[in-house]
Symmetry: C2
Subunit: 92 residues, 2 copies
Amino acid sequence: MMGPSNHIYVGKKPVMSYAMSALIQLSQAGEVNIKARGLAISRAVDVAEIVTKRLGNGTFNVKNVNISTEQVKSTETGEMRNVSSIEILVGK
Amino acid sequence: MMGPSNHIYVGKKPVMSYAMSALIQLSQAGEVNIKARGLAISRAVDVAEIVTKRLGNGTFNVKNVNISTEQVKSTETGEMRNVSSIEILVGK
């Protein structure tokens, strides 16, 4: 089991800053759950691919990928809208 | 087994046009493989979520999600670069 602190939320920072955070968590916990919503989903896939293919020397693999839909309240209109999300579990 | 014609490549068209194509393929073949590269990955997840959650009346589910890296030749510089990709298999 992994605790909730093994999550990384991918947003608008450069891909490499998330890749570094992911590697740090992998070195400490052996697993990291890379999460993102909306347009950041593409970047989350980039992070997982960089950690498993380019960094980490082949030590880590993608263990599971889950996609789902989350309800998010619009800050402008206050209406609920559906946003796609992804969770990518990377481990040994 | 599904043939190669059950693939949908998600690009820059509106999400709903891909969702409709996916539903047509699902009604004919029972399965569809939704593929995308780079920034279109987020849209491919949207298509899969719309087909499984909002349309299709709960008939279809995400069966498998695969992420990988493809090498693409830049049209400007001619250099090879790495692009993340996703494949989402939707079926009954």
